[in-house]
């Protein structure tokens, strides 16, 4: 996903360094690799504004190339830029700025929710009919609190670990992990009927 191949993570940094040093072709490859995930990450939160935000994110990458150095994984750096742009977007629209950062659902106990679900990893062919369930999945995702949705999308689109999600979103590891668990638990609950339908 993030790198697109086995050595993708390392190659990302190499490509970015090459672009910094004047290799425009390196950026082409880097962009081709990450344009979809970044765009979808933004789309899950800003919907029809995603195109504008994606352009801003990549322009920031272009402008920051001169000072780029490998201090972290490229995707961590890239999604930090995207996250910050998203926060700017919410601020500009008068949305609560803390929404992405603190919008957990304290009333829900993710462990309890998870315990409610059997999720015994049934065989793939018995789980979901992917084509039919795509709309249901995206709709369920859209119902999640922003912070939980962001944690899930960063994991799925960016291929980030809990640690990296915490870095990107500016929270500690436990908070990031908790958000991810909330997100998974709620999605399972929301899609339980699909599981039943296709799983049993």
């Amino acid at each position: 996903m993030a790198g697109g191949n086995a050595d993708g993570a390392a190659a990302d940094e190499v490509l970015m360094l090459a672009y910094r040093d004047g290799d425009a072709g390196a950026f082409d490859r880097l962009y081709a690799r990450h344009k979809g995930p970044v765009y979808r990450y933004l789309r899950r939160h800003a919907h029809d504004q995603a195109e504008e935000l994606a352009q801003d994110v990549w322009m920031r990458v272009i402008h920051a190339r001169g000072g780029y150095d490998v201090r972290a994984k490229f995707t961590t750096w890239l999604y930090t830029i995207a996250h910050n742009r998203l926060m700017d977007h919410f601020r500009a629209r008068g949305r609560e700025t803390a929404r992405l950062a603190t919008a957990d659902d304290p009333e829900d106990d993710p462990d309890a929710i998870l315990e409610d679900q059997p999720h015994p990893d049934p065989p793939p062919d018995r789980l979901l009919e992917r084509r039919e369930s795509a709309a249901r999945i995206l709709a369920a995702l859209d119902l999640l609190p922003d912070a939980q949705r962001e944690a899930f999308v960063l994991q799925q689109e960016g291929g980030l670990s809990v640690e990296e999600i915490a870095t990107v979103t500016g929270v500690n590891r436990e908070t990031a992990k908790s958000r991810l668990r909330y997100a998974l638990a709620k999605l399972r609950t929301a899609l339980a009927d699909l599981r039943q339908e296709h799983g049993t």
Binding site: A24, I62, L128, L184
Partner: protein, 265 residues
């Protein structure tokens, strides 16, 4: 990493559903911007030759140092000149303030009076003259004979400025006790109204001063006060005494123009 919450089935289902991609025109815009950014680099390098960057700081430092040295030299030069203008400025003031100031004793102490008066004129004449003229200008009207009271008024108005130098001079030559003759120089030199007459007076100053010095002995008072006494004598009807006093005044101040009321017998 291993304990990351993860649901493989959900993940696969999500990725199956999430397949949007950015529009092609967005791709084109971003890639074009990325290429432009890279292409712009060499142009910048061509436009800004490196030797300028290398020498910019040293050149700036050198220019600043040059300006600083020039300014300090100019200030130093000005500082050296400063005391000289002060002397001629003080001199006319002393002259104008007559009996209360002390410059007059200097010639008496040094002997040859003209030499003291000439001091500002010959050597530093060029530099001393302009500043000397400036303070002398306000002194001219007071010297005008027609309005002796104005002399007193303006003298009083200028007192604060003059007292400084006068006091300084008084301290330097306290023992001479020949203060009164001093005013002679100023009135004599400044009495003719107008610049031309003032210049003429300045040229004639040495000889007049000599005569003035000779009259010092019998000129115990300032001319203005003296003339005022003569007026008072006349007003009281003591005409003989008034005439004597006037004669004495003429001897003491032969060049001093008499006010019209006193010029009449």
């Amino acid at each position: 990493m291993n304990d990351d919450p993860r649901d493989r089935e959900l993940g696969e289902a999500y990725r199956e559903a999430s397949r949007e991609t950015p529009p092609a025109d967005l791709d084109a815009r971003i890639l074009a911007a990325a290429h432009r950014a890279v292409d712009a680099r060499p142009e910048d390098a061509v436009r800004r030759p490196r030797w300028i960057d290398r020498f910019r700081l040293p050149l700036a430092v050198a220019a600043t140092a040059l300006i600083a040295v020039t300014l300090s030299l100019m200030v130093d030069d000005e500082t050296r000149r400063e005391p000289e203008p002060d002397a001629p400025v003080a001199a006319p003031r002393d002259d104008a303030w007559g009996s209360r100031s002390a410059p007059a004793p200097a010639p008496a102490a040094s002997g040859p009076a003209p030499s003291r008066e000439r001091a500002p004129a010959p050597a530093e004449a060029r530099r001393a003259a302009p500043p000397a003229e400036a303070p002398a200008a306000p002194a001219a009207p007071p010297a005008a004979v027609r309005d002796m009271q104005r002399v007193e008024t303006e003298a009083a108005a200028g007192a604060p400025r003059a007292t400084g130098s006068a006091a300084g001079n008084a301290v330097s030559v306290p023992a001479t006790g020949a203060a009164p003759p001093a005013p002679m120089a100023a009135p004599a030199a400044d009495s003719p109204p107008g610049a031309a007459s003032r210049e003429r007076a300045a040229q004639e100053r040495p000889s007049r001063l000599t005569r003035d010095d000779a009259a010092k002995a019998e000129s115990p008072r300032a001319p203005a006060a003296w003339l005022e006494d003569i007026r008072r004598l006349r007003a009281e009807g003591r005409l003989a005494e008034a005439e004597e006093a006037l004669a004495a005044f003429r001897r003491a101040y032969p060049d001093y123009p008499l006010p019209p009321d006193l010029a009449r017998p």
